[in-house]
């Protein structure tokens, strides 16, 4: 009983993550994008806690705590500070052709499910059905990074790809060994700080965060 409930809950949170990935793909406003990213982190935390509760894997609680602290609190906070200091808080990006991007997104989801199907059959995790969703989230973040021309949304795409990967780790297995998870969290945090410094450098040089300025280096 509890087990089926847990599976349903995990599937619910996974569906939430996928919907949020679609929402991020179509979102033009930077501020809303950060909120969506924090929500995705929350869905990830919730699904990790559910798996931990249903299976009694104690270390998953720690993993969920790290996820919560990093992806719902610290990183969104850094992003908020960053967009305030960079004065891009109310920026609206012009996205061309949202409907066709949604269609590409759907194709990616189908592709991800096909790719994940043979692997998830080997999995003993209760969340094994969601491996496809995790892979889809990764691919959609990839698509988001390709289609965005502003620096901050690209960074958010990058971070959301990392969310998808973490979700893959909990859905295929019961999370990576603790030392690895800590190392990854440290990398993400340091990476974010370095990116913050870096965005200021870009703005100082180009007076804008539009990375179309950053397409000059080519092999002629």
């Amino acid at each position: 009983m509890m087990y089926t409930l847990a599976i349903q809950l995990v599937n619910l949170f996974a569906a939430g993550m996928l919907l949020l990935a679609f929402a991020m793909l179509a979102q033009r406003r930077i501020l809303t994008l950060i909120h969506l990213y924090a929500l995705q982190g929350l869905a990830l935390t919730a699904s990790t806690v559910t798996v931990a509760w249903a299976t009694g894997q104690a270390h998953l609680y720690e993993s969920a705590a790290i996820t919560f602290a990093l992806k719902v609190v610290v990183l969104p906070w850094i992003l908020h500070r960053l967009i305030r200091r960079l004065n891009v808080k109310w920026d609206v990006e012009t996205l061309i052709n949202i409907p066709s991007m949604m269609l590409v997104g759907i194709v990616l989801v189908v592709f991800a499910f096909n790719l994940a199907l043979p692997i998830s059959e080997f999995s003993r995790s209760i969340a094994r059905g969601t491996l496809g969703i995790a892979l889809a989230c990764v691919l959609m973040s990839f698509l988001m990074m390709i289609t965005r021309s502003k620096a901050v949304p690209q960074v958010i795409g990058f971070l959301s790809m990392e969310n998808g990967l973490f979700f893959a780790a909990t859905s295929a297995t019961y999370g990576m060994p603790m030392v690895v998870e800590l190392g990854i969290a440290l990398d993400v945090l340091v990476g974010m700080v370095i990116l913050g410094v870096f965005l200021f450098q870009i703005r100082e040089r180009f007076d804008s965060l539009d990375i179309r300025h950053l397409e000059k280096l080519k092999d002629d």
Binding site: L115, P118, P177, I194, Q201, R205, F206
Partner: protein
């Protein structure tokens, strides 16, 4: 074990120390001293492995075998010589106003941290920590690539960060899949990501998962190796950063990334009955070699050109390790060594030449021999060495790779020969007028440190003429580990 602790502690302490010292006059010397201590620790570690054989340490989180100890020694050595080269180079940059005190502090601190991440990646037994260290290596160098704050360098650093970040994310997915496959055999937590344990049970790992995992790992770490078509970040990052960083990126980081690929290949080969992993690596290697060779002649910037040459050589090594077998692996390891030595020597010479000319555009650098014969000869000899002229070591390794290819993969040989020929024509034609002829260059306040250039070239020459028996035995052991 003490040696291992020292190896990792010295760069960390060095980074902290350099951060405190900041822009004081002695900072480059402290950087060199820390690098020297790292080299001493690497030598000690090597001696331990030679006398006692491979060992694991710290709850098996670290391990050292002939394969990685050889790369540790190489990394520490080139790290030390680069720090020697960097001292006068950076002082010249400071006098030109391109390096402010704050940037120098960042540069020296990050240099040591970069060494630490590479040594950690090499000695870690945990495939997850290997990933963490590879990502950290990108993070430590991204601000160094953009250190001049020119539009081009910012663009290069952004590309470097995003492309390597995305690439390495693929490798993380591969690592997760690897853990997934291993956990079914080794049980959750603990040992399932330790390479020594994985190596013992590699035949039991689920082939369907492992083949997918290897694709992701190869694409992920391959981005950092600079394999075509994932190489876009590499020429930019090499050309726009300070030259010492170009030297360590090209000479060391690419090696470490390739090391990660071959560790994964050993596991994938064991799990899969087919030669899937080998064929993937051969294909990527060959495409990289040929593509990079054709890009060489289109370059105007000297550091960009040698960056493409690095892609070409990494392609050759990937191809060699893909073929596998005792001779190809031996040749691949030898090529790794001589490429690191020669390419970093070339970057040292190029750095001084570009500093004298005040530009990296090849058409504006002329007549190096008139102004500073040693830089000119260093560049010329280095170029001949990297192009595979006998009697340098690059010739030996390329010869071994080509003859093995002729026997085992005959279809690939003409392509490899074509690439080598095109590369020769492109690079030699460019470098020759830069070295000879009338000059346009000026003098610099700080005398360049050219000892590293000639020491590296002399070692490459020695490896071409005579490989000491213990070194050969060592390569053979490492080659055997790779199967």
């Amino acid at each position: 074990m003490d040696a291992l602790a020292m190896l990792l502690a010295v760069p960390l302490a060095g980074a902290a120390c350099l951060w405190l010292v900041g822009e004081r006059e002695a900072a480059p010397e402290i950087n060199a001293a820390a690098s020297f201590l790292t080299l001493a620790a690497a030598a000690w570690l090597t001696a331990e492995v030679v006398s006692d054989g491979p060992f694991a340490a710290f709850h098996e989180q670290f391990f050292v075998d002939p394969l990685n100890v050889f790369l540790v020694a190489l990394t520490a050595f080139v790290g030390f010589t680069t720090s020697l080269f960097s001292a006068p180079y950076m002082r010249n940059e400071r006098d030109k106003g391109r390096m402010t005190p704050a940037r120098l502090r960042l540069y020296h601190g990050m240099y040591q941290l970069f060494m630490l991440t590479m040594l950690l990646a090499l000695t870690s037994n945990n495939m997850g920590i290997l990933w963490v260290a590879m990502e950290a290596a990108t993070l430590t160098t991204v601000l160094l690539v953009s250190v001049y704050r020119t539009p081009a360098s910012l663009e290069a650093a952004w590309k470097y960060f995003i492309l390597c970040g995305v690439g390495i994310a693929q490798a993380l997915f591969g690592t997760i899949l690897l853990y997934f496959a291993a956990e079914r055999v080794l049980g959750a937590q603990g040992h399932a990501l330790l390479w020594t344990h994985l190596d013992l049970v590699k035949h039991q790992l689920e082939p369907a998962i492992m083949s997918l995992a290897f694709v992701f790992l190869l694409v992920g770490y391959g981005t950092k190796v600079g394999l075509v078509p994932l190489h876009n970040w590499l020429p930019d990052a090499h050309a726009e950063g300070p030259t010492p960083i170009s030297a360590v990126l090209s000479g060391l980081l690419l090696n470490v990334a390739l090391y990660a690929v071959i560790r994964c290949k050993v596991l994938a080969e064991g799990a899969l009955a087919s030669h899937f992993a080998a064929h993937m690596m051969m294909a990527f290697g060959l495409v990289s070699t040929v593509t990079a060779a054709f890009f060489l002649s289109r370059q105007r910037d000297i550091k960009r050109m040698f960056a493409y040459s690095s892609i070409e050589h990494m392609g050759i090594m990937t191809f060699a390790f893909g073929m596998g077998g005792p001779i190809a692996n031996f040749a691949g390891l030898l090529h790794m060594t001589v490429h690191s030595l020669v390419k970093s020597a070339i970057f040292f010479a190029v750095g001084h030449a570009a500093q004298k000319a005040g530009t990296q555009v090849m058409d504006e650098i002329r007549g190096l021999l008139r102004v500073s014969p040693r830089v000119g000869w260093g560049l010329m000899i280095g170029t001949l060495a990297i192009l595979g002229m006998p009697p340098f070591g690059v010739f030996t390794s390329e010869f071994l790779i080509l003859t093995t290819a002729m026997r085992e993969q005959p279809w690939a040989t003409p392509l490899l020969l074509l690439a080598l020929g095109v590369a020769f024509a492109a690079i030699f034609g460019r470098v020759q007028p830069m070295v000879f002829g009338e000059t346009t260059l000026g003098r610099l306040p700080y005398q360049p440190a050219l000892a590293p250039v000639f020491v590296h070239l002399a070692l490459a020459l020695m490896l071409g003429l005579y490989i000491p028996p213990y070194l050969a035995a060592w390569y053979r052991q490492a080659a055997r580990l790779l199967g």
